[in-house]
């Protein structure tokens, strides 16, 4: 029978490899048998409490148990919403407002913090992972849930930056995740011997690349400690210690190793598959990787959260000049890319158009936000015969002479910074809300990878940064903050971004 539930991956593997480590960190690991047990105990408990098709907040430290909790939510017929203990409080509040959750799963270290987000009069049940997994597994109830579930039912929500200042929750279902995992696995050639080193946070879709293929193939995923991404030699040593052979990392994590010349001291001995995405790989750094690992397979991936994960790939098969940009290649099987120009017609070779995605990979949309969903998930303008949705990414691209898709730029003020997708507008909205601020404007220095904030108001840069750290995630905090007497305006009275960008460039040159 055709697969309709992501948990079938786990069930197919657990009988074969019950004692193999599935998910591990530097201190401990959970076997497939343990993941299977814990997640079904969680699912049984959620069912007993009457939660079905509900968002379950998973508010835990990044840990193998957090992953098992995800699958527990799915066993219960619910969908998981990962929240990271390091997210700023203000953002978590906005997410809770959007979700209106009834239940959350915590661990010892997060439960106190998690409880502070329960407002007066609100009833949210707080579960402790280590307690809830002691519950009896109700085989009968789990079978009934399975029978009732459709592959179009949601399994997770992840939140992404919103230009209005409010994060948007992208809801994904079994079917799009299965479609993604099947096609990604074929391209990257995962198998039972794959040992992943996970870099990306568990609260984004990026970690799907490791979590579900691990279940599907009976592979193993190590969660690499975040602090190692500051210390290149220790990082490579970690990869070697655990025989990690496959990484799907953001470009900045890879270039950190090569740019600091860590390969002169230590080389990843087992690494043979390197996938990267979310940003442009500087060719100079790419060459260092290629020379260090001449036999490894390198794959560039591209895709928005709204299309489940990645939707295009390019297997690096030729050399690039230093000023060339690596293409994002071609869509995965069962996905089509439509490049639409301003007239909503297909762009010709070399013509720039908006990258639009068609296929099963489209997620369900934004949670509790039909307005934003309807703006981005729209009727295919090339089809006037029956309903068919496409997702408009807001990314501009073109087809090169080889028929490969090349990313050109963004349509709006969304940027990619250290692998994170950020709306500059979200930063500005948060700054403008602060008392004593008259106006603000963010620009992005692509070359130096710096978010630069200009503002006018009565407070000092120092205070501003301190307050922002409570409101925005770490990666959205401007890297440079400058106070101006007044903000430059265009003839139409809008903020003059072009002038500010020039001002910034001039100052940079003076240095």
């Amino acid at each position: 029978m055709q697969q309709t539930n992501v948990l079938e991956y786990l069930e197919g593997t657990v009988n074969r490899l019950p004692d193999k480590i599935a998910f591990a960190n530097e201190n401990m690991g959970l076997t497939f048998g343990e993941v299977y047990h814990d997640s079904r105990a969680i699912g049984s408990y959620l069912n007993k409490q009457g939660y079905y098709n509900e968002p379950v907040v998973v508010f835990m430290e990044k840990h193998p148990k957090m992953i098992a909790a995800f699958f527990g939510c799915v066993y219960g017929g619910d969908f998981y919403v990962p929240i990271d203990a390091e997210m700023p409080a203000f953002r978590i509040e906005l997410i809770f407002d959007n979700l209106q959750p009834k239940v959350m799963i915590c661990d010892e270290t997060t439960q106190e913090t998690a409880k502070t987000f329960i407002k007066e009069g609100q009833n949210i049940e707080v579960l402790l992972y280590d307690e809830v997994v002691k519950n009896e597994i109700d085989e009968d109830a789990l079978a009934k849930i399975r029978d009732r579930q459709l592959d179009t039912d949601p399994i997770y929500i992840v939140f992404t930056s919103g230009s209005t200042g409010i994060p948007k929750g992208v809801v994904a279902c079994h079917r799009s995740v299965i479609d993604y995992i099947e096609n990604l696995s074929e391209v990257l050639e995962f198998n039972e011997d794959t040992i992943f080193g996970n870099q990306t946070p568990l609260y984004f879709d990026a970690c799907l690349k490791e979590l579900y293929p691990t279940l599907k193939f009976g592979a193993t995923t190590y969660l690499v400690p975040k602090s190692l991404f500051m210390f290149p030699i220790k990082l490579v040593e970690f990869l070697n210690e655990h025989k990690i052979n496959t990484v799907c990392w953001v470009v900045s994590a890879l270039t950190m190793i090569s740019a600091f010349k860590a390969f002169d001291k230590v080389v990843p001995k087992y690494l043979h598959a390197v996938a990267f995405g979310s940003e442009v790989f500087p060719i100079k750094q790419f060459h260092i990787w290629k020379e260090t690992l001449p036999n490894a397979k390198f794959t560039n991936l591209y895709g928005p959260t709204e299309c489940t994960g990645m939707c295009c790939y390019y297997k690096v098969n030729r050399d690039f000049a230093l000023d060339e940009v690596m293409p994002v290649g071609r869509p995965f099987h069962n996905t089509e890319i439509l490049l639409l120009n301003n007239d909503n017609q297909l762009a010709k070779e070399g013509e720039v158009g908006e990258i639009c995605v068609r296929g099963t990979s489209l997620t369900l949309g934004y949670y509790h936000n039909f307005e934003k969903t309807n703006e981005a998930f729209v009727q295919n303008p090339l089809n006037d015969r029956y309903p068919e949705l496409i997702y408009r990414t807001g990314d501009l691209g073109k087809w090169n002479e080889r028929g490969e898709l090349v990313f050109v730029s963004r349509k709006d003020y969304q940027i990619k910074h250290m692998g994170h997708r950020i709306e500059l507008g979200e930063i500005e909205v948060n700054v403008n809300l602060l008392e004593g601020i008259t106006s603000s404007c963010c620009i992005y220095d692509k070359e130096k990878e710096k978010i630069v904030l200009y503002f006018a108001g009565e407070i000092e840069s120092k205070e501003l940064v301190a307050i922002l750290k409570e409101k925005l995630p770490r990666y959205m905090i401007p890297n440079k903050v400058e106070k101006l007497d007044k903000m430059p305006l265009t003839a139409n009275g809008k903020l003059d971004r072009v002038y500010l960008a020039k001002l910034y460039e001039e100052k940079k040159k003076e240095k």
Binding site: M230, F231, M256, S461, R474, V481
Partner: protein, 75 residues
């Protein structure tokens, strides 16, 4: 030392770099900061920090970092 403090304060205007000696332990600096700091040190002091010196001990305080720059500058 003043130049180094300026580099650091530019990244985190709200941190007192003259006294803080837990920049790594308390997660005040992240990987982006480390990358920026190393690039700036290269620009300003003309000192290349080799990979084997990019370890927590050398980045926990402005003082430790300054010692490192001096040591590398002498070599």
């Amino acid at each position: 030392m003043d130049e180094l403090l300026e580099i650091l304060t530019d990244l985190h205007p709200d941190v007192d770099f003259e006294t803080c000696d837990t920049l790594i332990d308390d997660k005040i600096l992240d990987s982006f900061d480390i990358v920026s700091i190393i690039a700036e040190i290269n620009d300003v002091f003309d000192v290349v920090i080799p990979a084997e010196e990019i370890i927590p001990e050398n980045f926990n305080s402005a003082e430790a970092l300054y010692d490192l720059i001096e040591r590398l500058g002498d070599e």
